[in-house]
């Protein structure tokens, strides 16, 4: 039996890596992947504690999160295609015409 705190730690590490990914990477697809990592960090914590509390709600919530994440990515990929059409690149640093 893995101790419960390990799950939480792993989840925290995943979350932190995800934040760093969003902050440091320029490629839009990798940024989306980092976002997914953060979502799944939360999911991991939910599943682990759902098991601990013997309550289903945490597990069901994870399904909601996965569905939502899928929807976000679907819209996100569509937007990336649209950027690529105008900029021929998916570097988010090039998206800086709105500022000031």
């Amino acid at each position: 039996m893995v101790p419960l705190s390990y799950y939480l730690m792993l989840s925290a590490v995943m979350f932190f890596l995800g934040v760093l990914g969003v902050m440091l990477r320029r490629n839009a697809i990798i940024i989306f992947m980092s976002l997914e990592l953060m979502f799944n960090a939360a999911n991991l914590a939910f599943v682990a504690f759902a098991l601990y509390y013997h309550s289903l709600s945490g597990q069901i919530f994870v399904f909601f999160v996965m569905t939502v994440a899928a929807a976000e990515v679907a819209v996100g990929l569509a937007l990336i295609v649209a950027i690529f059409r105008t900029k021929h690149s998916i570097n988010v640093d090039q998206l800086s015409s709105l500022k000031g």
């Binding site: 504690f49 976000e72 819209v75």
Partner: protein, 482 residues
């Protein structure tokens, strides 16, 4: 779920059903006006159901939603605002080329998400409502598929995704300690010492939830996205982001942190005080020399949400009333301002540059006059809605002796006055000789948009001069939610 439960959430079902009907309608016959009529019918039907539903209130429908007078009031406000935005969108999209009909689908879905938020009593409905709102907004912001729109859409997507992740992780932390996601159980689990709850994890979780909420409300330090998204999005969508999305989130904030009594957690309270002061100062300072109108309104909205936090932090019976009334006035004023930008915009671009409104009074006295009224209301000048709203905020703040916050509110309102008046002065300035007329001054406003704006101007003065009826309504509806 009983029949009575289903009855209680009928407005939500109608909104969801309307979006399905619009979707199918587009598939069968693509027509802009037909889609508009279907959308408006859905919104009106949902609105008219609210008083009928209120007979059942308060009613807990599954652990996720509560239909009480508080949620009914804010649902009504959201649906009414959505109605106005739909009408403005029709005026806006009539100028655009390409497919216009799906826009309304997303408007309905975003409205549905907001209504879920104000009725939420559970993390699941919180998250789902938020995401239904956000995902619809991504598409709406990028709807024009012009360069600015897409840029704004991607920025909003990444940052909203990031903040949702923070929110979600915060929920996970709270769940990990308390084993519940029901709002009502959080304070009881917290106060029960035998549960061995670690306050640190719960508070950390709540702090992360505040990050998610703060992002949607565009509070400092989560405000950086605001001007870019405001500027890039089509004007009616900006109106949506500025009003409904924030209003729904604020209603949720007030409900959550009244149930989880914020006064029991001094550090959390302090965090909100810091956020409020920073928002009031930084929002107004950012607006100071801004010339682009949509960005200016973005900065203005940052500070306005900061003002709202003053009433939020004031406890007492007046606080909820002050928040609700201020939101109403803020909705009217902001919708009016973006409505005016909408009716001045054309197919190429939104009217927001200084030359679009310099000397506007001499070309379009009506639009300039209405705009002046909106800006004066945002500045809080007497006899406009904004004054009465701000008066109640200050009264609520003084009632709870929040002197620091009230002083900051007054001082920063003074800074804010400067940039509102700057725009007003520019509108009444004489046109330079021989200058070309900006395209924004040449278009003749679409009838529907002009009608919507006229109604908003009348509402603005009505609320400023005769606020009693709406105050009575608010007093009877928003105080004391379960």
């Amino acid at each position: 779920m009983t029949a009575a439960d289903v009855y209680a959430i009928l407005p939500l079902i109608v909104l969801g059903g309307a979006s399905v009907v619009v979707l199918l309608g587009i598939a069968v016959h693509r027509s802009h006006s037909l889609t508009l009529i279907l959308t408006l019918t859905g919104l009106v039907a949902a609105f008219l159901l609210l008083p009928l539903v209120s007979i059942e209130a308060p009613r807990q429908v599954t652990p996720l939603l509560v239909i009480d007078s508080y949620s009914i009031f804010f649902s009504g406000l959201i649906i009414a605002a959505s109605f106005i935005i739909t009408v403005l969108s029709y005026s806006y999209l009539s100028q655009q080329r390409g497919h216009r009909e799906e826009f309304y689908l997303f408007l309905l879905l975003a409205t549905l998400g907001s209504v879920v938020l104000v009725a939420s009593t559970h993390f699941a409905s919180f998250f789902l409502g938020l995401e239904v709102l956000s995902v619809s907004l991504y598409t709406l912001i990028a709807y024009s598929r012009k360069e600015y729109g897409i840029e704004a859409g991607v920025k909003y997507l990444i940052l909203a995704g990031l903040s949702s992740a923070f929110l979600l992780f915060g929920m996970a932390l709270v769940y990990s300690e308390l084993g519940t996601m029901k709002l009502a159980q959080i304070p009881t689990s917290l106060s029960n010492p035998s549960s061995g709850v670690s306050q640190v994890f719960v508070l950390g979780g709540l702090a992360l939830i505040v990050v998610g909420i703060g992002f949607k409300l565009a509070l400092v330090p989560f405000h950086l996205w605001t001007p870019d998204v405001y500027q890039g999005a089509p004007a009616p969508v900006t109106a949506f982001v500025a009003t409904i999305s924030k209003g729904a989130m604020f209603a949720l904030l007030l409900r959550y942190f009244t149930v989880v009594n914020i006064h029991n957690y001094p550090s959390l309270y302090l965090a909100f005080v810091v956020i409020a002061i920073a928002s009031m100062f930084i929002g107004n300072l950012l607006g100071l020399l801004q010339t682009k109108l949509k960005r200016l309104l973005a900065y203005s909205s940052i500070s306005h949400l900061g003002y709202l936090l003053v009433a939020f932090l004031a406890s007492g019976p007046l606080a909820a009333v002050a928040v609700a009334f201020y939101l109403v006035t803020y909705f009217v004023t902001t919708l009016g301002a973006f409505g005016l930008i909408t009716i001045m915009s054309n197919s190429d671009r939104d009217a927001e540059d200084p030359e679009d409104y310099r000397g506007l009074f001499w070309r379009k006295p009506w639009i300039a006059g209405s705009f002046t009224a909106m800006l004066l209301s945002l500045a809080g000048v007497p006899l406009t809605a904004g004054f009465v709203g701000k008066f109640y905020l200050v009264t609520a703040g003084i009632g709870s002796a929040l002197w620091l916050l009230v002083i900051v509110l007054v001082v920063t309102s003074g800074i804010g006055l400067y940039y509102y008046l700057r725009v007003v002065v520019a509108m009444f300035a004489s046109l330079p000789k021989g200058s070309t007329i900006a395209p924004a001054m040449r278009i003749s406003p679409h009838f529907t948009g002009a009608l919507a704006v006229t109604i908003l101007v009348l509402l603005l003065f009505w609320l400023g001069i005769y606020p009693t009826p709406i105050l009575r309504l608010i007093e009877s509806m928003v105080t004391g939610f379960s």
